[in-house]
Symmetry: C2
Subunit: 167 residues, 2 copies
DNA sequence: CTAAACTTTCAATAATTATTGAAAATAAAA
DNA sequence: TTTTATTTTCAATAATTATTGAAAGTTTAG
């Protein structure tokens, strides 16, 4: 396989995988493209490589910037905008974790806490509250792990978890 | 809020949240319903509570069984099938983690390894391989953490991570 | 200022994914 | 065995989500 094919295969595979994690296919592909590109790309470049419309590129690039994993980059002598992806994978991982935590884990905790408020002491209500409480407990633990992960530096995490994992 | 309303609110909220994690809304709702139910439910019960068709119930219940988080339960004197959800939330969390790891994390590692195989030593190819290698490294670490989590018992995980998290 | 280059928006449309419901298959009862 | 209850399948359809493309908006150059 030649390099360009490998890159394309990577981009397309990434797109399909994204779906199972609730991520838009095109967004994953745009990110993958920027990640393996050695130079900043313009909207045109992305349109052409992925064969998608200008509007689609714009929306997905904005979303990626919003996630903090893609940045605008100025190219001298060029008027239009260029984009690059964070190449530090550890940083990328932390950023994605941080955003998903904020957008998707924390709201779950909020909902669970709200539901706990019910005033009813029947046997059945207590059972329901127990389920909610257990869900909160596990979710909180996960949330704390993610917090620590975000703050950790790569070396710390790898070595720490190696210890734990080898236990 | 009265108990039944709280349960329904929980079921519907869970359904919406599921979408951002790539889980079918109805599947999440069926699971939530079984989780907060104090007794085994039949296909009819689920159809009625969630207002969905028989075929839909059947497909989603099968999927949940396939994920290992719902079981059939025999009710004496009844001919039809009844279903219950694993009530142990820690067990539930481990089961989901295990399945997602198997279905979605491991295939990623496979793809990354395959792509590494490219025979090209140009500057650009080396950069590409570095990205792939970094992705593999982070994914492997995550995979190992998940492995250990699956094998851990609740107490071990909570206490261990509390230590780490408080660090 | 005006024109050109470029970006953003969003209603219309396409593509994907989920759901229905009735027929076929299966299993239990008579 | 035949009948009846129950589950499964799957083509048709509905609902959701993603994409297009052209018009409106914005920015920079002249």
């Amino acid at each position: 396989m030649v390099l360009e094919d490998a890159k394309l295969k990577y981009i397309h595979t990434w797109g399909s995988l994204a779906t199972s994690w609730g991520v838009n296919k095109t967004m994953a592909q745009v990110h993958a493209l920027l990640l393996v590109s050695t130079k900043p790309l313009s909207a045109e470049d992305i349109m052409e490589t992925l064969q998608i419309s200008r509007g689609n590129v714009n929306m997905n690039v904005r979303a990626l910037i919003d996630w903090g994993i893609v940045q605008k980059e100025l190219v001298i002598g060029e008027r239009k905008e260029f984009f690059v992806a964070t190449k530090d994978i550890w940083e990328l991982f932390k950023q994605i974790t941080k955003e998903r935590k904020r957008r998707e884990v924390e709201p779950v905790l909020k909902v669970l806490a709200d539901l706990q408020e019910i005033e009813d002491d029947s046997e059945e209500a207590l059972e329901f509250k127990k389920v909610l409480n257990d869900l909160s407990k596990v979710t909180t633990t996960v949330n704390n792990i993610l917090d620590k992960t975000i703050k950790a530096d790569e070396h710390w995490l790898l070595s720490n978890f190696t210890k734990i994992v080898k236990k």
